[in-house]
Amino acid sequence: MYDIIVLAVAVVSMLAGIAFYARSRVLMFEMENKEKETSRRMYELAILKELGDRIGYSLDIHQIIDIITGSLRQFIEYSAVSYMLLQPEKVIFKVQLEKSVHRKFINEIRDRMLNSLSALLDKELKNSAVEEVLSGAILIEEVNEPVRSFFNIPLVIGDKVVGVLTVSDIKPGLYKEEEMTILYKITQQASKAVSKLEEVVKTEQRKLNSMVESMADGVVMTDNDYRVVVANPAVKLTLGIGKNIEPTIFDFIDNLGGKFDIRGKLEESIKLGKVLETPEALIGERFFQILVSPVRSVTTMSNGEILGGVVIFHDITREKELEELRKDFTSMMVHELRSPLDGISKMADLIIRKKAVIKAKQITDEYLPIIYKNSSDMLRLVSDLLDAAKVESGKYQISKEPAVDIRKLVDERIKFYEPSAKENHIVITSMIADDVPNAIALDPNAITEVFNNLISNSLKFNKEGGEIAIQIFTHKDKSDILSEAKKAGVKWFVKAADKALATLSSSTLVAITDSGSGISQDNISLLFNKFKQFKTAALTPNKKGTGLGLVISKGIIEAHGGVIGAASEEGVGSTFYFNLPYEPALEIKS
């Protein structure tokens, strides 16, 4: 009985032991699995991080796959890991051997991989195009074992197959879904990263290309053998190379006509690795600043390597012109200010020294009027210069009155100028459309000055027996100004192409048209330029005024929120126009 009990206990405990053993086996298995899973995850993360760290922003697929294959053995068992990459003119076949194999083994995976790649690309790939690189363990004749385990993973960048990655072993049945999945995942992740990077690079490249294309500066880039890689439209235009021509360095040499040694400068720049600047070169009729710079590679593989040179033609003609005008301006200042001041000084000196012998009458009748005239001329010039400077710095102040009668203002101006107009047999007429408001918000003194400037110019440049028409009409927002002007009966030389008028808001428009000699198109753009005007005025015989009137008028009109402009027909006459935009409050009233 006791025995039975003992036996029973033993059986029970054995059973319990078995059960416990069984349970712990299950637990252990689960734990092992979990551990495996975790380590695989870790591996995945590690390899992706490594890829990230080591590749940086490289787009070098070789490098990326080398990193993958280099760290794969931590996870998968294999005799060889290999990849085939499609290149423009060849197929790269790289094998990393973990264990020694027979040459036949290599040939077998090579054939299999080439077949897979051909199938993936749907394109016959020749064995002769394959460039083989072996590394790792050595080939041994004795190990005559065939490929028993093998799997391929396609390498895809963007949507394009670029190669295959293969793991192979002499042992059979080695690779199950798990291994394939993990490698597939990794390559996919890497491919995704590269695809994304490539997309970014392509976008940047497109941006860069369109930037270079649309650059105002001429840009030409060559490689180290002076083959033209890029020549933007601006450089072709500058050098008179046809738009659709793919120019060579010789086109550039020919068209530069010895004005700039492009090849020599490129050679020097590439050799020295230095940016060379030519501050000024006259090409055709324009001045250029020319920069020649080496172009360096910035990829991780070949950092700093010189890939070629770039030449940038920056047109400085306009700057040169402005510089000239500025110089002229300074010399005119000398003439217009220093000269009369010197005159006053010398005259006063004469009076002081000869006071005993000069008659008082001569001083009062001859000398003092000259001193007075010189000093008033200078005073006016200095005031105009100050006004022009205020206009230029945007500090021209106006003080608007809410309701100025522009009809009255124009009448006063006509009365003021009529005597001098009559002297030259010039008729001043006015036409003010009925819908022009009686009360306009403006600075009466400033607008009077604008009228003075425009009317006196029209008088100065008119012909004998000519006409000056002061015309005012209303422009409604979005309506066609030309038809509005036509309806109001305005005589002017403004054409539809005049861009300044296209965007005017509702406003009162003033146009002063004369029958003078007109202004050439080139000169119209310079009319409101301080330097240009001053020079012209200073060189005009019997000049009146400083020539800065238009510059100041522009400032006054712009301070009113309007625009000022001119249009002309040479030999027939000119029109100067400006607008005074409606004040919001007034617009509601009207």
Binding site: T330, S331, V334, H335, R338, S339, P340, D342, G343, I344, K346, M347, D349, L350, R353, K354, V357, I358, E366, Y367, I370, I371, K373, N374, P541, N542
Partner: protein, 132 residues
């Protein structure tokens, strides 16, 4: 009166012109004046002055053109010409020197008495027959 030297001043800055003329009145000279290049040239060819003060920057006809025109004339090619300039006219002065200019003055750098003092030797040289 004819033994008085004749001096022509061509200058558009009236204050300077009058100051120079006013000072010269105290010398034994006869003065002619013009305020633009063209009338200056006409007056020179008509009056044949012994000495001409000529401004460079002049309305109607600039001083350099007046100078060249004078040098083409059989009388004018030998007349004493003294240029009056602004500082910025140096290029024009250099050009003028080719046309046998006797002296130039940068106006603002000299007083009128100084200019007259330095000019006197040219006038007195006319008195000695050995010098042409």
């Amino acid at each position: 009166m004819d033994k008085f030297k004749k001096i022509l001043i061509v200058e558009d800055e009236v204050a300077f012109l009058k100051s120079l003329a006013g000072e010269l009145k105290f010398q034994r000279v006869k003065i002619f004046t013009a305020t633009d290049g063209k009338s200056g040239l006409d007056l020179a060819l008509k009056e044949h002055p012994d000495l001409i003060f000529l401004d460079i920057m002049l309305p109607v006809m600039d001083g350099i053109t007046v100078l060249k025109e004078l040098r083409k004339d059989s009388w004018g090619k030998n007349v004493i010409i003294i240029l009056l300039t602004q500082v910025d006219d140096m290029n024009k002065v250099a050009e003028a020197m080719k046309n046998d200019v006797f002296k130039y003055f940068i106006k603002a750098d000299h007083s009128i008495p100084d200019i007259i003092e330095q000019t006197k030797k040219y006038l007195s040289s006319l008195d000695t027959p050995t010098v042409k």
